[in-house]
Amino acid sequence: MKESGRTSGRMSQIINVTNAWLAVLIAIMGVGAIAYFAFQFTTGLIVTGMRDIVVWGLYIITFIFFIGLSAGGLIISSSSYVFGAERWKPISRVATLLAFVCVAIAAGTIVADLGRPDRVLNLFLYPQFDSPFIWDLIIITSYLVISLVDLWFMCRADFARKRSIFAFGTKDISDQAVARDKKIVKAISFVALPTAIMLHSVTAWIFGLQMARPWWNTAILAPVFLASAMVSGLALVILTTLIGRQRGLLNVDLSVLQDIGKLLAVVVLVDFFLKSTELLTLFWPNAEAELARLSLVVSGPFSSLLLIEWTIGGIVPFVILAYPRTRRNALGLAVASILLIVGVFAYRVELVLPGFVVPLVSLPPGQAVGQYIPGVSSYAVTGTYSPTWVEYAVTGAMIALGAFIVTVGAKIVPFGSSKDADKE
């Protein structure tokens, strides 16, 4: 009696905290919706901080950041099948849900960035297949479908057992049916892993194939995107799983997260190796054009980002993960994960913006920036950019939407006790 009273007290506490959290998320989404529909949609992208010269800003940064964050998902769940990493199976569901949500958010920010969102269907009606944008659209759509189908087959038997509507009428929970589901999930994994790798590569190629932007135009961009995506993606999975454990939604042994932490440390090394290779290649020849590009991020306006990326977003979390004592406790894992996500975000900013600031032809008076303000020249030789409140609000709403789906999803998707995981 006493026991059950305490349990129900704890349950209602969890629900209250969850409701408050959801209310906050809904409020953030509301502000974002107002910013988008009452301002940006009706008056155009003029309400953002973007102008000609720096034509992409926070939306595109958020887009590639979220594409990267999705990496943990299918890579963990697929690896557990493709490479037989059995110990990771308990978190494969939450990882897959995160992957789906992150890619969906990324797709959302792309639409938010369009000058003509009313014509978004043109992408499907008149696709032009030379464009890496269209490749990305294809791979994003495939990824969304694959991760959703994958997730459903992982959970189907549990849904059926609970007679949930999400079983979509399937009732078979015999061992045969469960074995068949498992086979399908395994088959999907073999497709999902290459799809995940392609997702990050294609997103990198949107930038990396542009001859007009030497800062982006490097063959190493796709490998760097893959590595940095895995850094932020694995960090997000660890962080979410820790929160899920804390909230009693996930029954995952900390040792599993330590394993992933170890892998994460290795991926961090690979990521920074690839990035250093790129920086060295720009620095060593001592050539004017390359040095000018490098100076933007080493000593110019973006140098603080480089510092964040390498120190508190790189070396510090790496040491935390590499050092067994800090890796073996939840706090250490959480701190390292947060720092790595911050570091990868800094990298995303540092990739997108410096590509624009100094155009290839930067002679006075420069180019028209796209807006006339009395008393201010409409021309500029170099670009500047700082996001407006509308961009912050819309981006915040996107992130809140993602958190909302994950929170609600945590109630629908049987993340499972250890029992569920065993049966899988």
Partner: protein
């Protein structure tokens, strides 16, 4: 042989008067804050300023608009085919198809493309210039069209026709006997940023002083 329109700009003749920039803006009804055509100063850090110290000063002007590339990066990146190349080589933007992703602006090495961030503003508040140029909506990319509304009627683009220094020439690059083809050969015409591989159809004739060519 099909026509391949090209332009030649003689930097030794250009006086940097900006007439072509203004004429372009009028002819094509280009909104406030946007410019298809601009005249850049090669020299000091400000417009119309030379580099060096007196009397060793150097300066010339580089009029810059869409380079009408033979291998246009903007056409390749456009996800919906709103930016396209006509059979005669002119690169255009379809304002009814453009979704406003601005990918073409990132792909253009010359900064020749401009975007309608808000509703196009005109002062005075009515369309000016050529009646055959349509008004554009908010949220689309625009750029130099080689004045197709004039070229299709057998006229020269507005910037060529209006140049007081007669520094601009327009014609068929496929015809080796055309004025533009001859000028390129005889006066060592060059393209901007040839290393990018876009193969512009706008050629520049070097300014007179030796050792002071291109950027």
């Amino acid at each position: 042989m099909a026509k391949r329109y090209g332009m030649v700009i003689d930097l030794a003749r250009c006086v940097g008067c900006q007439t072509c920039a203004i004429q372009c803006k009028l002819e094509n009804n280009v909104p406030l804050g946007l410019a298809w055509n601009r005249v850049l100063t090669m020299g000091g850090s400000q417009l119309d300023t030379p580099k060096g110290t007196f009397p060793n000063l150097e300066m010339y002007h580089v009029p810059l608009a869409c380079q009408q590339c033979e291998n246009p990066a903007c056409v390749k990146v456009c996800p919906v085919g709103a930016t396209y190349q006509r059979p005669d080589g002119i690169v255009l933007v379809d304002w009814d198809l453009c979704i406003g992703c601005r990918y073409c602006i990132t792909a253009c090495p010359y900064g020749a493309r401009v975007f309608n961030w808000g509703n196009p503003v005109h002062v005075p508040d009515f369309p000016v210039g050529n009646a055959d140029v349509s008004t554009r909506p908010r949220g689309v990319v625009e750029k130099c069209t080689f004045c197709i509304q004039r070229v299709d009627k057998g006229l020269e683009p507005a910037c060529v026709a209006s140049c007081p220094a007669r520094a601009r020439f327009f014609g068929d690059l496929n015809d080796p006997e055309s004025q533009v083809s001859k000028l390129i050969v005889e006066k060592s015409g060059y393209q901007l940023l040839p290393e990018i591989g876009t193969d512009p159809k706008v050629y520049y004739l070097p300014p007179r002083r030796k050792g002071f060519v291109s950027q």
